[in-house]
C-alpha cells in the first residue's frame, strides 16, 4: 500500500515534469548523418535569456532540440567534474573561463571542431583547443558622480587596497564574475600580492551577492563606486534605468588587471553521445548568426567571432588597454583558496 502511494506520487510528478525532460537520444550519430531530430543538453552558466535565444535560433536552423540546465560557472563546472563520464551534458557554456579550465583540466572536454575554432580570433580562445570563446565582457568601475568625481577615481584596481578606500567600494566576491577578475590579478601579479590585496579588500570593500546588487547600491549612494562587468549597466540603461540612472562607468587603463576582459567559453563534453549536434551548436554560436544575437539582442555582451561588431551602444573592444592573459591559465581553485584565506568567502 505504502509503496503503491510512493509510486503513484512519483509517477504523478514525473508526468508533470515530462514536458521538460531532455529525452536525450541515446544513439550516437556520426557527423555524416543528419542531426535533425536529435536533442542535446546544455549546462548553461551564461545568462539564460542569451542562451535561450541561441538555442531557439539553432533549433530552428538544425532541428536539434536544446534543453538548458541553468546554473553558475563554478557550480556547473564542479558538477561536471563530479559527474565525469556519467554526465548527461553535451555542451558547457560559461560566463567566465576559469570554470571552463577546471573542466578542461580534468580531461572532460572534446577537441573543438577546427571549423569552429577558425571562426574565433586567437585572443578569444585558449591555446589548447578544448574550448572556445563565445562572448566577452569587460571589467568596469561603476561610480556615483554625486559621491565621487571622475578625477578622484583610483587608476588601478590594486589601489583599492589602500586605507583611503575603506568602505568606499562594493563588489560581489562570492560571484564567479568577481572571482574571474581575481584570477586575472593572480595571473598578473602573483600569489603574495593577490593575497595582500584580497585581505585589504576584506576590510575595505562592502560585499554584495551579485553585480546587479553592487550597481544598485552605487546608484542609491550606499557606496560611491563598485567593481562590476560592463553589461549590467548597459542592460539597465536600455531598460528602466532604475538601478543605474545616477551612475557612470569608468574603465581602468594601461593593462591594469582592472581592465581585464573576461572570456565566456563554450566546450563539448567528451562523454556526450551527441557529438555531431553538440559541435554544430558550438559552431552556430560562434558563427555569424549566433554572434549577431550578441550584437542585436539585449545581452550587451561583446561578440568574439566571425567578425561581428559589438552592439552600437557599447564602446569598442578589444581594448588595447586590457592585460594579455592566456585564458587557460586562469585558475579557479587557487582563487577560491586565496579568497577563503583572506576571509572573503
Amino acid at each position: 500500500m505504502r509503496r503503491l502511494i510512493i509510486v503513484a506520487a512519483t509517477s504523478a510528478v514525473a508526468l508533470a515534469l515530462s514536458g521538460c525532460s531532455s529525452g536525450g537520444s541515446p544513439s550516437a550519430r556520426s557527423s555524416s548523418t543528419s542531426i535533425a531530430g536529435t536533442s542535446i543538453t546544455v549546462y548553461n552558466a551564461q545568462h539564460e535569456e542569451l542562451t535561450q535565444a541561441w538555442a531557439d535560433a539553432f533549433t530552428k536552423e538544425s532541428g536539434v532540440k536544446v534543453t538548458l540546465r541553468n546554473g553558475d560557472d563554478s557550480e556547473l563546472g564542479n558538477q561536471l567534474v563530479q559527474e565525469a563520464a556519467a554526465s548527461p551534458a553535451d555542451v558547457f557554456l560559461t560566463e567566465n573561463s576559469p570554470a571552463m579550465s577546471l573542466v578542461a583540466n580534468e580531461g572532460l572536454l572534446a577537441t573543438v571542431d577546427p571549423a569552429t575554432l577558425a571562426q574565433v580570433p586567437k585572443a578569444y580562445k585558449p591555446s589548447t583547443g578544448t574550448w572556445t570563446g563565445i562572448a566577452a565582457r569587460s571589467t568596469v568601475m561603476v561610480y556615483n558622480p554625486s559621491k565621487i568625481s571622475a578625477d578622484q577615481l583610483p587608476t588601478s584596481l590594486l589601489d583599492l587596497q589602500k586605507p583611503e578606500w575603506k568602505s568606499r567600494w562594493g563588489a560581489a566576491p562570492s560571484g564567479d564574475d568577481y572571482q574571474a577578475i581575481v584570477s586575472a590579478v593572480l595571473a598578473n601579479k602573483g600569489k603574495a600580492a593577490t593575497l595582500a590585496w584580497l585581505k585589504a579588500m576584506n576590510v575595505n570593500a562592502v560585499a554584495y551577492k551579485s553585480n546587479g546588487a553592487v550597481m544598485k547600491a552605487v546608484n542609491a549612494g550606499e557606496v560611491p563606486m563598485g567593481v562590476i562587468y560592463h553589461y549590467y549597466w548597459f542592460i539597465d540603461q536600455a531598460g528602466t534605468k532604475e538601478n543605474s540612472v545616477n551612475t557612470k562607468l569608468a574603465y581602468f587603463k594601461n593593462q591594469d588587471p582592472g581592465a581585464f576582459v573576461s572570456i565566456s567559453g563554450g566546450g563539448v563534453l567528451k562523454s556526450s553521445k551527441n557529438q555531431a549536434a553538440a559541435q554544430a551548436f558550438l559552431k552556430f554560436i560562434t558563427g555569424k548568426a549566433g554572434q549577431d544575437i550578441l550584437r542585436t539582442g539585449t545581452s550587451f555582451e561583446y561578440p568574439v567571432g566571425s567578425g561581428v561588431s559589438a552592439n552600437p551602444a557599447l564602446p569598442s573592444l578589444p581594448s588595447p588597454q586590457a592585460p594579455t592573459i592566456d585564458p587557460s591559465k586562469l585558475n579557479s581553485k587557487d582563487v577560491t583558496d586565496l579568497m577563503t584565506q583572506a576571509g572573503l568567502i
Partner: protein, 486 residues
C-alpha cells in the same frame, strides 16, 4: 535520512583534521557563528512570543475583529521568506545585518509557532483555567502557570522548527547581505562545489543543530497532554482586554504592516511595471512546481507518520534518537543535502540521477520535521485510552490505527502535509541541483531574477508562489481552528 549527515562527516574525515582545523578556527567562522547564534537566540523567543501571544489574543480575549485577526496573523505563512526579503530590500535597499535578518526571519516564521499554539489553545479545556482562577490566580497568572505549560509541546515544537529554519535559510538572508553559516556554505559551494571549507562549515552547523535538539528534548517532558472525560469541553469565556484594547490593536496592525503590507506593496509596484509579465514559461513553471510540491508533501507524510507514532507512543531513547536524526539532516543547508544526493546517486544509482525521485527524496529529508512535529502534537492529543478501548473490543492493531487514531489525527495530518508542501514549493537549492534539466519551478525562476536585481521579472513568480501557497495555508488554518472532536 542520514545520508547528508554521513556525507558531511565522511568528507570531514576524508579531508583530515590538519586541513580542517585552520578552516574552522578562523575569524570569518567566528563572525558567522556569532551571527547565527544571535539570530537563533533572539529570533526564536521573538517568534514564540509573537506566535503564542497572537494565538491567545484571537482565541481567549475580547479583541475586536478577532476572527479577522486570526486569519491575518496566519497569512505571512503564504509569503515565502525570500519573497518578503525581496519586498523589503526593494523598498529599503539599505536593510541588512543582524537587525534586517531578524526582522525578515521573525515575520516570516512566527506563524510556525502561532498555528500550533492556536490549535492547542482551542483544544484546552477551560475548566482547568477556571479552577485556577477560582483558587485566586490573576489573569496573567492563569496564562503563565496554566495555559503556557499546556502549550509546551506546541511551543517547543514550533520553536524547534523555527530554529532549524533560521539555521538553514538561504535566500532571505542572501538578498539582504546578512551572513550566516548557510549563506557562507552556499558561497563556498558555488565556488568550489564540495570543497573542504564548505564542509568544515557544514560540520559546525551540524553541531549547532545537535545543541538545539538536545535543548528541545529537555523541555519536552513526559506528561500526558490529552483530555478525556465525559461530555465535551465548554467553550472558554473570553477575557476582556479593557484599556489594553487599543494598544493591542495597534501592535497587531504593526505586525501586519511589517509582515504583509510592506512586502506586498513592493510586489504590487513591480507587478505594475510594463515589463513584468513578459515571461513565457509561467504556465509550465506553475505546473511543475505543483507536481514536485505535491509529491514532496505526500512522501513526507508517509515517512513521518510511523515516526511520529513511535515518538509519542514509545517515547524512549531509541525513538528520540531516530527522531533527532531526522531533524539533524534537515538543519543542514539544502545544498549539502543536495550534494550528498548527487554523490550518492551518481556513484550508486546513476539511473536516479537528475530525476524527480531524487528531488522528492531531498524534500522529504529537508521538510520531514515540519510534518513530524505537527503529527506528533496531533497524536499527543489523541487519548491512548480510546485506542485501548478499541483494542479491547477486538479490533486489530492496524485496524485501530486506521479507524480510531488516523481520523482523530486527520486535522494534524492535513496541516503537516500542507506545511511540508509549502516548504517544497519554496525550495531552491536542492531543486536546482537535483531536478531534471529544463525543470523550472516558481522558486528557482524567482530566485534567478531577484538575485540579479531584475525585480520586475521576479514579481509574477512571487505572486504565483503566493497563490499556490494560499490553499496550503488555508488547510493549516482550518485544521488549527477545528474544534477537537474527542
Amino acid at each position: 535520512m542520514l545520508v547528508p549527515v554521513g556525507f558531511v562527516v565522511f568528507v570531514g574525515f576524508d579531508i583530515g583534521w590538519s586541513t580542517l582545523a585552520p578552516l574552522v578556527f578562523r575569524p570569518k567562522v567566528a563572525e558567522l557563528l556569532s551571527n547565527t547564534i544571535l539570530l537563533v537566540v533572539i529570533g526564536v523567543p521573538l517568534c514564540a512570543a509573537l506566535g503564542v501571544g497572537g494565538a491567545w489574543l484571537v482565541e481567549r480575549t475580547t479583541l475586536p475583529g478577532r476572527h479577522v485577526w486570526a486569519v491575518i496573523l496566519a497569512a505571512p505563512l503564504a509569503m515565502p521568506a525570500f519573497v518578503s526579503s525581496y519586498g523589503w530590500v526593494s523598498a529599503v535597499p539599505s536593510l541588512g545585518g543582524l537587525g534586517g535578518g531578524l526582522l525578515i526571519a521573525v515575520l516570516a516564521y512566527y506563524p510556525l509557532v502561532y498555528l500550533p499554539a492556536l490549535a492547542t489553545i482551542r483544544g484546552l479545556d477551560p475548566a482547568l483555567e477556571e479552577s485556577a482562577r477560582s483558587l485566586g490566580l490573576s489573569s496573567f497568572g492563569v496564562f503563565w502557570r496554566v495555559v503556557i505549560p499546556q502549550l509546551r509541546l506546541a511551543i517547543a515544537g514550533g520553536a524547534l522548527i523555527v530554529s532549524l529554519h533560521l539555521l538553514a535559510e538561504y535566500g532571505a538572508f542572501a538578498l539582504i547581505r546578512f551572513d550566516t553559516f548557510t549563506t557562507a556554505i552556499v558561497a563556498q559551494y558555488q565556488s568550489t562545489f564540495a570543497g573542504p571549507a564548505a564542509n568544515a562549515l557544514g560540520v559546525v552547523l551540524a553541531l549547532l543543530c545537535l545543541v538545539l535538539l538536545i535543548s528541545e528534548a529537555s523541555t519536552r517532558g513526559r506528561r500526558r497532554y490529552a483530555r478525556i472525560g465525559s461530555g465535551a469541553a465548554r467553550p472558554a469565556v473570553p477575557m476582556s482586554l479593557g484599556r489594553l484594547t487599543w494598544p493591542t490593536l495597534a501592535g497587531l496592525a504593526a505586525v501586519a504592516t511589517l509582515a504583509l503590507v510592506v512586502p506586498g506593496t513592493s510586489l504590487l509596484h513591480w507587478l505594475t511595471q510594463p515589463n513584468a509579465w513578459q515571461q513565457r514559461d509561467l504556465g509550465t513553471t506553475f505546473v511543475q512546481t505543483i507536481g514536485l510540491s505535491l509529491g514532496g508533501a505526500i512522501a513526507a507524510t508517509i515517512v513521518a507518520l510511523p515516526i511520529a507514532w513511535l515518538s509519542v507512543r514509545y517515547a524512549g531513547r531509541p525513538a528520540r534518537i531516530l527522531e533527532g536524526a531526522m531533524y539533524m539532516a534537515s538543519s543542514l543547508p539544502t545544498i549539502i543535502v543536495a550534494l550528498a544526493l548527487v554523490t550518492v546517486t551518481l556513484r550508486l544509482i546513476p539511473a536516479l540521477y537528475q530525476t524527480p525521485v531524487t528531488v522528492i527524496t531531498a524534500y522529504v529529508i529537508v521538510f520531514l520535521p515540519r510534518a513530524l512535529v505537527t503529527f506528533r502534537s496531533g497524536l499527543a492529543q489523541v487519548p491512548v485510552q480510546l485506542e485501548e478501548a478499541a483494542r479491547s473490543l477486538g479490533t486489530s492493531g492496524l485496524l485501530t490505527k486506521m479507524r480510531v487514531t488516523l481520523p482523530l489525527m486527520a486535522p494534524s495530518i492535513g496541516a503537516g502535509a500542507a506545511l511540508a508542501g509549502l516548504g517544497c514549493a519554496n525550495e531552491l537549492t536542492a531543486t536546482l541541483l537535483l531536478a531534471p534539466s529544463g525543470t523550472r519551478t516558481l522558486a528557482t525562476q524567482f530566485w534567478s531574477a531577484s538575485s540579479s536585481v531584475a525585480y520586475a521579472d521576479a514579481a509574477p513568480y512571487a505572486v504565483l508562489l503566493i497563490a499556490l501557497s494560499i490553499p496550503a495555508v488555508a488547510i493549516l488554518f482550518i485544521s488549527a481552528r477545528r474544534r477537537p472532536t474527542a
